[in-house]
Amino acid sequence: MVSKTVKCPKCGEQSTIEGVVGKKTIITCPSCGTKGQFTFSTAQPMARTTDGSETIQVRNLTKQYNDVKAVNNVSFNIRKGEIFGFLGPNGAGKTTTIKSILGLIHTDTGQIKINGVDIKKDNKRAHKYIGYLPEKVSFYNNLTALQNMYFYAEMKNVPKSECKPLIVEMGLEDAVNKKVGKFSKGMQQRLGMAQALLGNPAILILDEPSGGLDPRGVALIRNKIREMKEKGSSVFVSSHILAEVQAVCDRVGIISKGTLVAEDTVEKLRGKLNLKPKLVIELEKITDDVVNLIKSIEGVEKIEVVGVMMHIVCSSTSKSKVIVEIEKSGINILNIQTMEPTLEEVFMKFTEG
């Protein structure tokens, strides 16, 4: 997602617009109402201004494998102390972006800075700020959990005394001296998280942290993410589990076919898509008359009837009208629930087609 300040050719009013690189955006002048269109250049999208609080800055990142652009001109920032969710369908470019941030792969174009340090110029210094949990967690199978942690602690120049408490915190107290080769996927994931947390890193990059974990493990990781935010760390989480992301993330970025199609808070993305809340009403009985009555109310977009449950998609202002009309019809309302649009709906909208 990129932004640009544009000037209305008719009245001269300036406004800032946001859009996706290479795609047309229809603009309506807020002052005179003149309509126009703007295509964001693929060459140099305007960078968001930085005030020094960004811990990860990604600019115009492009990575091509053979003829396929895995990541195409992606730019975004992650601020200090925020949890940033990175979403996208399989093969969208999430892991390629993460690997580029870490310098594991060589990008074709673009600049990545970690706490102001250019990853291409001083990879080693940049890595001092990072704790990383890869998508495919793998350790030295011939070593125990503690021996593995000691190796990583020494490499990170972190006191070895941190290792055992972290293993225990991640629920592996019975496996401290067990060889990692005998660990289940979930246990490896927990140890991977412990490794990423070594030295309280300023930036935590987690690629699919819930993979292979039981619900208890998922909750443990979620709590750790929140704890790290409270300590002031920035957390970059790539995940398929949208509910997890929605539960912890301050902002999300959605990548589709290598292009960052959205970047904002979940609430703002909902607003941009004009997604309406869903009213779920349980009635004593449902008749055709009451369905037709509700359909006729202004602002009601869609009605779904499942048994005695009515799912109504409508604007916020028409919610009360719907309830009043049902009561007038003489049918008793047993239960009312309002469901806000989920991240899943936002995700589906942005990645459809």
Binding site: H127, S138, K156
Partner: protein, 281 residues
């Protein structure tokens, strides 16, 4: 360059090889073979063979065994970690890729050097007890030369480990290399010699300098020349087999041989870094 990560990676390689018993197994193989070579001489001459003679007999075994051990130690050093995923985490740590390559080389090189030094060293001590007037300096030159040629094959294996995406391909490459240096290259060089010089000249040992220069492209030839130049192997062998001693040209010096082996090590270490640095993990 920071020495700490290099040391830590080297230490891990050494400890891994102690844990999986490689160090002990290879050391025992070297020691047993050397002692056996010397002791077997007593079957024909009622006494153990001298160290010179043992070295002469050991040369052919070293030329087969040391490259195999070095290639086995190094062929998977990088590709194994890429394949199983641990390289992702390793590179995300505060470490440069050249430090990883150097750490791996020093660790595995340490394992190889230790096994050669202790294996042959122990055997040398045993032979020294059984045989009078042992020249230990010459024996140490043999051990040092063997370590050098071992390190050459280790860096070649390390390069193969950065070149391929799969461990199986890297293993295939290492096996091919062993065949190339031990079987194919000597045949090519003999072919070149026959094509450029007369057969009678080659049999009589009267070969042109260019042929000797071409021979130096094979690190094993460089190694055997280095040992022969410093240890009286030729005398021992010709006395035993009644064949004329090999005559080397004037430019065949120990300094040149050591320089060539070092050039192989530095060259392939550089190639390994270049390839690894370009690699997407």
């Amino acid at each position: 360059m920071d020495l700490d990560p290099i040391y830590l990676i080297a230490k891990k390689e050494i400890i891994d090889n102690i844990r999986n018993l490689w160090i002990i197994i290879i050391t025992i193989i070297f020691a047993v073979l050397t002692i056996a070579m010397s002791a077997l001489g007593s079957i024909f001459s009622d006494e153990w063979q001298s160290l010179d003679m043992t070295v002469a007999l050991m040369m052919s075994i070293v030329q087969l065994l040391v490259p195999i051990i070095a290639l086995m130690l190094g062929y998977a050093a990088i590709v194994r970690e890429i394949e199983n995923g641990s390289m992702n985490t390793l590179i995300s740590l505060p470490v440069r890729r050249e430090e990883i390559i150097l750490g791996k080389f020093l660790g595995l090189g340490g394992v190889l050097s230790f096994t050669i030094l202790v294996g042959f060293g122990l055997a040398g001590v045993v032979i020294g007890i059984m045989v009078p007037d042992v020249n230990y300096l010459e024996y140490m030159i043999f051990i040092g030369s063997t370590i050098l040629v071992g390190l050459v094959y280790l860096t070649v294996a390390l390069f193969f480990s950065t070149l391929f995406k799969k461990r199986s391909t890297a293993l295939g490459g290492a096996i091919f290399l062993w065949f190339f240096f031990n079987m194919i290259l000597p045949i090519i060089l003999i072919g070149i010699a026959f094509a450029g010089a007369g057969m009678s000249d080659i049999i009589s040992g009267n070969v042109p300098d260019w042929y000797h220069a071409v021979q130096l492209t094979n690190p094993m030839t460089v190694y055997s020349t280095l040992v022969t130049l410093n240890i009286n192997i030729g005398g021992a062998m010709s006395a035993a087999t009644a064949t004329p001693q090999v005559q080397y040209p004037d430019f065949y010096t120990s300094g040149l041989m050591i320089s060539i082996l070092f050039a192989w090590i530095v060259g392939f270490l550089g190639l390994s870094y270049w390839r690894f640095n370009k690699k997407d993990i």
